[in-house]
Amino acid sequence: MNKIIQHSEDDSEGDENDKTGEHSPSKPAADTNFARRIKRMWLDVHDLIPRTDPGLFIPGMPTNYEIEEDVVMGSKRPHPGGDEDDTGPSGPSKARRSSKKQQFARDGKNQGKTDALEKRRPDLVMVDHYTQEHRQDRCMWRHFAVLMEVKRDRSDGPNPADGTTLTRLTAQLADMARLHLAARPFMRYSVHLSICGDRFNLAIFDRAGGVVSKDYDISNDLETFIRIICRLGRQLDAYDLGLDRTVVPIHALGGWKQFPEFRVTVGASTYITQGLPLWQSSSLVGRGTFVWVVVLEVDAEESGKGRAGSFILKNAWRACGRLAESTVYKMLYSATEATSHLTDLGGVAQFVEGGDILDPQEPNEVIKASSHRKGFGPATNENDDPVLHRVVLASHGRKLYEFVTFSQFMRAAKNMNSGTPSRIPQHSLLTHSRTPGTS
């Protein structure tokens, strides 16, 4: 393993690719696609708590960074999201937690094992490495390209003996995958390696569930192991490792100073995300919603014509059996008052554009969860195959503390109430689909 780590560091191919990243992180390069840069390294993070950017809170993610200095050898540090948090608030906590049960979590015995979902950090990670910035002595979830979990015994592997029961390790990998997908935007799936004794597996988790490989023997399949490590570290770009191929990061994915901004295509327009997402889902299976403030990207001729306003972008995986949100907006704004029974659309967000996203690799096909599963995994259930969907809105929400007068607040409440199911039952989707930034 050590050899492979160092080889990755001396990777001449990575250095060549690094030449594309000469731009300052504060000045995004219009022609640079940082997803194509392949410069990665392995990090041992089993006794560290990976972080998120300041201002980005992901529910369930350990945030008690202060105890990092006091490492207990041989045990993962308990984190605030553990069993003692089950009855308490899930927000950040500065209080140090200790649990006898957790201290013996890694001794290899069944007695005293903690819930697998409490260990929300991997053992080893392959991170995107940005050589233009000084490396800091901490690690961040959004830098992770591949996550690895190591167990001592082969019996702890992800594949169950009966072929169906959810194993402890699979649940643990899935829990880390949901945090990974929440912290690293626009990911279609999260890639994981597990090494349990002399067995290793590769697994992916996406918005439809997960797929775990068959067991490989690290002795008999050492050649395969070498090939996998080489491919993950040196040859597969960010798109191959799960990033949505319809977005282009315009900052380094492994950068420290700048949360990467992305160029996102919706219909015929291109938008640039601004800073941190306004909101992100932290669940694994489901819509995986991200909400961003974006600006319309305009060329030199269009600039200065007042088109560079900011918008709200909602990126989510919609259930294929449900009506698309963009369709609902179009129906609302195209219907007459007599047919819609809506007297006032003041409380409804102003729809700009949106729809299902076309797959650049498969013309005329939309991106679904099954799109990246072609060739492996179980047969696709057409009724349970989430579709990638984007909506751009011109209405920005306001935070409660931004209201200056009570009358302003009451007008907002009145507008929100105008979309309740009791008044417009045929459009009840509106209420349940309302998102931050649209109220």
């Binding site: 041989g74 290899g108 002595d137 002399d198 569930g209 996998i228 597969l236 932290s282």
Partner: protein, 131 residues
Amino acid sequence: MEGPTTPKHPRVTSIQHDSDLGRTPSQPTSHYSSSTNITEAKANLKATLATRVSYSDPKIVDVLVKPDKVSDEFVQGVQDSISKDEDIMDFLAAIRGQKVRLERDMYKPLVHRNCYSIHTSNTHTSSSARC
């Protein structure tokens, strides 16, 4: 002059949820609420994953990673260097025999490693299993 006659209301010490009152919620739990409730997230994850994970897939590595694209010369070179490294060979033998010691049983300086020393020093060891 007498004060207001309106009787004082009992102080509200906590917000009553539907579950506290033993009643069924009138609307589905919001997405935000479900994603911020850790207990619920745990239960949901286990419940939803149980039927959504496919195991022992024989093709995912070949399709997703395409290991055959790595040149045979490179693989042979790595295998040769592994076979010449006694530490790695001992470690592989220990794995096969399930004799890998626990990290806490090892001599601490051998296993204590700052992850950021990987590319700056040789103080770490590759033959420690972290379970």
